[in-house]
């Protein structure tokens, strides 16, 4: 029997993997993918609770998140392309002009 807890643990694991990726990887594309992973894990939580509570609100939310994520992916990839054009790199530690 797969309970709510199983889903939540899986989502937490996915989220943690995403955070780990964002924090540790240098390649901005992989950071981007990790962010997508985090979003997906949150979607999973929404769906689980929607099912568990028998309400559709969570599913509506997921649809919204998906739409926003798609837009974000477009913008994000645009930024990455612009970054590469300007700096010829995709490694974030080489882009430190905000250093205090």
């Amino acid at each position: 029997m797969i309970t709510l807890n199983h889903y939540l643990v899986l989502a937490t694991l996915l989220f943690s993997i995403g955070v780990f990726g964002v924090v540790t990887r240098r390649n901005v594309l992989i950071i981007f993918m990790s962010i997508e992973l985090m979003l997906s894990s949150v979607n999973l939580v929404f769906l689980s609770f929607s099912r568990f509570l028998g309400q559709v609100d969570g599913q509506v939310f997921v649809l919204f998140v998906l739409v926003v994520a798609a837009a974000e992916a477009a913008v994000g990839l645009g930024i990455i392309v612009a970054l590469f054009r300007n700096r010829q790199t995709v490694y974030v530690d080489e882009v430190k002009i905000l250093r205090g």
């Binding site: 955070v19 964002v22 924090v23 540790t24 974030v92 430190k96 002009i97 250093r99 205090g100």
Partner: protein
């Protein structure tokens, strides 16, 4: 005429006009001078003279009118209501108001009268100066502050005038400020006066504290002279320190030992300024102040003795220095210090009216002496060394004879003005303390000697100039000669209003001031007074004749006398090295402490280093630590953000 004026304004307002005219003149000429300086244009002399000389003359007319009006009343005194309230605190109200009484009327008449003559004289003397308008602006401003000083109805308002005349004195001594020596002389006068003023202020504070702690219901008006007089008994415990502190202020303003050093240097200013400020009016402010507070001074024999001793000492001390000076204005400066000493001597022995009497006659003949010396300097194109004069009497008769009259007056020759006033002082001193009388008597002889030395060397005997220079010497223009003549008349007749009863007069001046000033009666008989007057007359006269003979006929005698007293000569010639002693004992220690401690340690290290730069460095230091966090690596930010989120979560959950 007066009735017509009084249709439109009240009599109080009319009295305020005394102050309004000079202030107006000062403002107008000051603005004109400023505008001219900005536009780089010349100002019109005519307009300057119109305002500059019109103001004091009108002011004099008002004073004279008020004088005549008040003669018709029994009390001769009045106070104008407060013009406005200057300060209003919980327990202190200071009103700005004027007090007209016999004392302030005498002072105001002398100031505006002699002041007007000196203004007119300045037209001729300063005619070629490019600062003509500025000069008249300062001079009018001085007149305004001096009138504030003598007409003020409270000690605080008096202090306003006191500081104002100090400022004008500074401005006028340093009038030719391009010359560094002259600018320095102005600075010296200002600083020395400030030292005295510190004493004056402390005196004011002491009065305030004492009256405040007595919990009287004064209506808050602490410093009004009438209030002070009414509550003088409350001040008895502190009368001695208060009087000594105020006297210290008077020492600064009136050039008494130990603060007299600024006055000889003040001669750097234009000569009419020396006549008006440093002889006739401003330097007598201290005498006026003590006389005004005579009700306070009579409470404390100690302070009175100090005043008398300092006065007598200054009178003799300055007279000896005057004997050997060669600069015509310096001689007159030391003479002024010496005569001011006589006034303080009179104050100290309780003869307040004699001090004011001498103040008035001194204003006449000392102004005349200075204006006469100005006339000589003008004719000699700035030469001030009397050894380079000689035989000027034929070339400039008016100057010579008015100068001789003034010298006879200051020497105390009967029946000129100085005789009566000086005699009154010596007579009261004789009745009070025989030693002080001896000092004053010796000083009187020296006065006659140095004045006639000056006359002998300047106007008579062989000329020390070459023919060409002598031929170019000319009598001064009418604008300068007329004031000389008028002052000569005053120097002769000015003393006749105070002829003592012993000599068949009525001592009118004394009775006139009697209602204002405290008075210590004397016990000597009329015969004694007559004998004493005769003795001091002969004493002064024989010194005058000797000096005149030696310095106009036998000029090699002094050189031989000097040979015998080489050391004494050297000491006096260098003015007892007082300036040098002050330099070593006061100025240098202060300079050293200021430089080594207050500047290098306290200011540079403590304030600048530790506080100012220290604050900056501390902020910089912490800033550098914190800026390390802003590495520019986005992942680090994110890590910190996560850490924060986790901590927050932790806090919320547990």
């Amino acid at each position: 005429m007066l009735q017509w004026v009084l249709q439109y304004i009240s009599f109080e307002t009319f009295v305020w006009m005394i102050l309004a005219f000079p202030l107006f003149g000062a403002v107008v000429n000051g603005l004109r001078s400023l505008v001219a300086a900005v536009r780089k244009k010349e100002t019109s002399h005519f307009v300057t003279i119109l305002f500059g000389c019109g103001a004091p003359v009108l002011s004099f007319v008002v004073v004279a009118t008020v004088f005549v009006v008040l003669l018709g009343f029994t009390s001769h005194s009045m106070v104008t209501g407060p013009l406005f309230q200057w300060a209003l605190l919980d327990d202190l109200i200071i009103d700005i108001g004027l007090k007209i009484d016999p004392l302030s009327l005498v002072m105001a008449s002398v100031i505006t009268g002699v002041g007007s003559l000196i203004h007119i004289y300045s037209v001729g003397y300063m005619g070629h100066d490019k600062g003509f308008t500025r000069y008249f602006s300062y001079l009018n401003l001085f007149l305004f502050f001096m009138l504030v000083l003598v007409l003020a109805d409270s000690l605080v308002f008096l202090f306003v005038g006191w500081e104002g005349v100090g400022l004008c004195s500074y401005l006028l001594i340093g009038f030719w400020f391009e010359d560094e020596e002259k600018a320095k002389a102005g600075k010296k006068a200002f600083v020395v006066n400030r030292i005295g003023d510190a004493g004056f202020l402390l005196g004011l504070f002491l009065i305030y504290v004492t009256l405040k702690s007595a919990n009287l219901d004064l209506g808050g008006d602490f410093f009004n002279f009438d209030t002070l007089k009414g509550y003088a008994h409350v001040l008895i415990p502190v009368a001695t320190p208060v009087c000594l502190l105020l006297f210290f202020g008077a020492c600064g303003k009136s050039a008494q030992i130990p603060l007299y050093v600024w006055l000889p240097d003040a001669m750097a200013g234009p000569t009419p300024v020396s006549a008006l400020i440093h002889a006739a009016t401003m330097v007598t402010a201290g005498v006026y102040m003590v006389a005004r507070l005579s009700f306070l001074y009579t409470l404390t024999p100690t302070a009175m003795s100090v005043v008398a001793i300092i006065g007598a000492a200054t009178a003799l001390f300055a007279a000896t220095i005057g004997l050997l000076q060669n600069d015509i204005k310096k001689i007159l400066a030391y003479s002024t210090i010496s005569q001011l000493g006589y006034m303080f001597l009179a104050l100290g022995v309780g003869a307040f009216h004699a001090a004011i009497f001498h103040l008035m006659t001194h204003a006449f003949f000392k102004a005349l002496l200075f204006l006469g010396s100005g006339s000589v300097i003008h004719a000699m194109h700035g030469e001030q060394d009397i050894r380079k004069y000689g035989g000027l009497s034929k070339r400039m008769p008016i100057t010579t004879w008015t100068f001789v009259i003034a010298s006879l007056a200051i020497a105390g020759i009967f029946p000129l003005a100085g005789f009566f006033s000086k005699d009154a002082i010596l007579w009261h001193t004789y009745n009070s303390n025989i030693i002080l009388w001896g000092v004053g008597f010796a000083g009187a002889g020296l006065t006659a000697f140095y004045m006639f030395r000056l006359i002998g060397l300047t106007f008579f005997g062989e000329s020390n100039m070459d023919e060409a220079t002598l031929r170019k010497v000319h009598e001064s223009p009418p604008s300068m000669a007329v004031p000389l003549l008028l002052l000569a008349v005053l120097s002769i007749a000015g003393g006749w209003i105070g002829i003592p009863e012993a000599m068949g007069g009525s001592d009118y001046f004394h009775h006139w001031l009697g209602e204002v000033l405290a008075y210590t009666p004397v016990h000597g008989s009329h015969t004694e007074e007559l004998v004493l007057g005769g003795v001091s007359f002969l004493w002064a006269a024989h010194f005058a004749i000797i000096a005149w003979m030696i310095y106009s006929q036998k000029r090699d005698w002094p050189t031989r006398v000097v040979e015998k007293f080489r050391r004494l000569y050297w000491l006096i010639y260098n003015k007892y090295f007082v300036d040098e002693i002050y330099d070593v004992c006061v100025i240098r220690p202060i300079r050293n402490v200021s430089e080594r401690f207050f500047w290098k340690i306290s200011d540079a290290i403590l304030i600048d280093g530790l506080l100012v730069h220290g604050t900056g460095r501390a902020v910089q230091f912490f800033g550098r630590i914190l800026s390390a966090v802003q590495s520019g690596v986005v992942q680090l930010y994110l890590t910190l953000f996560l850490l924060g989120a986790v901590l927050l979560l932790w806090k919320i959950l547990y």
